[in-house]
Amino acid sequence: MNKILALVGNPNCGKTTLFNTLTGSNQYVGNWPGVTVERKIGKLMNYEGYDVMDLPGVYSLSPYTPEEVVTRDYLLENHPGAVINILDASNLERNLYLTTQILEQGYPMVLALNMMDLVHKNGDDLDTQGLADALGCHAIEITASKGQGIKELLDVAIHASDGHVHLKPIRYSNVIEDTLVRIDEICNLPPEHDKRWHLVKIFERDPHELEKANLVPQLKEKLEALICWAEQKEGDDAESLIAAGRYAAIENLLRQYYKRGNKDQTSKISDAIDKVVTNRVLGLPIFFGIMWLMYFVSVSTVGQYTTDGMDAFFKNLGETLRAFLEGAAVSPILTGLAVDGIIGGVGAVLSFVPQIFMLFLFLSFLEDCGYMSRVAFLMDRIFRSFGLSGRSFIPMLIGTGCSVPAIMSARTIENDKDRKLTIMLTPFIPCNAKLPLFALFAAALFPANSWIGPSMYLFGIIMVIVSGFVLKKTRFFNTEAANFVMEMPAYHWPKLKSMWQHTWDRVKGFIIKAGTIIFVASAVLWLLQNFNLQLEMVKPDQSMMADIGRFIAPLFAPLGFGTWQTAFAAIGGFIAKEVIVSTFGILAGVTDPENGGTAMQAVVQSMFTPASGYAFMVFILLASPCIAAIATIRREMGSWRWTLAALGYQTGIAYVIAFVVYQIGSRF
């Protein structure tokens, strides 16, 4: 088995860049069960027998955020061969805080001091050797983005993994050190490498550690009395004492080994940018300008052209294949399955790829340069009032184009519950694909009312706000406000390579994961639409889908549209929302639904009253999104239970609201 080198560090310290440098392209991304926080593993390049583990970026090993839990559990349970602690050398005071915690776990460790170029640029000076000696481990200066110092780093890390380190964890005040000795007498921990870590955690009353220590009641009391004694003596609670002790030790180290010059360029430039982009007057207009630009470029111009192009490409491909298969006398069933089912379904999904790519290139840029933290800073006030995060704005905006990239962009939301809630509510914002339906219904049933179409947006937004407000009160989404103590990193110019990597990782994930689910689902839906129960190929109105439509039609009767055709169309909406309009066309015998405007309107007028039509629009607006979006929700939620809960909620709400709309509407 390969030895593992674990990469640990703060967010924004260049950890992922280092990981990519170390592993080249030999990596794979794995979602861990339950949480979607990723840890990645890859083979170390140019060295046999070593793997590199990229753990989520954290500020501390406390057990509260999902990132912290993943990183902490990994370190405690999996015993890496060595830990590479990467630090932003231009921000050592906070970065070393995590180091003091890892030191106590006693794994062979080396420090990778990244961003030394910034340190020099600021006129500062770091005595790397002095700092390394004080902590009892090697420290190597690297520039991860340029690959400098990597070989030395690996040499010392591999040497360390053979056990050649004598770490010197930081020391606390005498009172605390005495207390730790006495805690050891009470708990009698085994003399392992991570003993000091456990002692400190017990002193902090960490619930996991107390449970593991499994003390008899008498000893528990003794322990509690001891901790209280130390707290009284030092005049603060244990948790604060330990944190303050760590920071005091770090200040001490930096006084000795870090000399500040007086030209702090980075933070000066950063401050100047912030004076403009988070300005009380200009901040919001600039934000909306950037959002408009992102939307305009990736969704409405470049995105739209390329998506249309891809669409045409797949239509052509399908027709070419059909001609070829028919020429080769392949059975029409197989031809239909391949062309209409699979190429049609998968093509509909792949045509989103250019849009997704553009969008993520933008988002990577905003994330990498540091603006994303400012987005949260600017929008937090509004979104918090209905239970979402400041960063929820971006998915909602992108959702007006397509829910698929919108749901994926929710990744930039740090808090897991806020992210899940955002994913759940984003599909309420009407996407591009629903517009033809709204336009058709508005023209057919409400020719005099121009507000019917736009009212769908209002409906969607209100549902997001109300749902956020209500769901946040439930135990599933109820979190403490803790997560908004957020770093505002200094701006820096993003590296093209890492932006590309970021974007490609996400696009690839979409193509592979969503693609496989959609491949199967398209084939199944095609079968249902074209076959009867005896598996004979039939007209749509005799197909299994029509049977299902007839079966569930009574369910829709209270909403005003209890015919099998509407049920059939609604199910067709699973494939893609565009399909609903063409389904009405096919069912009504309109051969060219795109140009049969008046004929289509007549069909709609014959099937719906204004009340039931509006109820149908509301139902389609809110109910479960298309397969592509469902597959994306599944991927981003990391669990089927959450996915089904989201779909159930959306469809349930859609049913209730459509019911209310129809019942009220039909009284006028």
Partner: protein, 74 residues
């Protein structure tokens, strides 16, 4: 007593005690807002909340409600 919420923009203050509990408290002290730390509020978000503060050579954004839980001197 004075809290971080009461500090004026640009006025340096020193952390005296963190009153929050649980995950919030942990996060606050982990990010370096420990007793004796010098903090300055540098700006308020356009909508009035949250605020951006500067400490230990970096910047942090924190909600006003949470800033009320941090007692300061100065």
């Amino acid at each position: 007593m004075k809290t971080l919420h009461d500090a004026k923009i640009g006025e340096p203050v020193v952390v005296a005690k963190v009153l929050a509990t649980g995950a919030l408290k942990r996060r606050i002290v982990d990010m370096g807002l420990t007793k004796g730390t010098r903090v300055t509020v540098i700006r308020v978000a356009p909508l009035g909340d949250p605020v951006e503060i500067s400490l230990r050579n970096y910047n942090l954004s924190i909600r006003k409600a949470d800033a009320k839980n941090i007692l300061v001197d100065g």
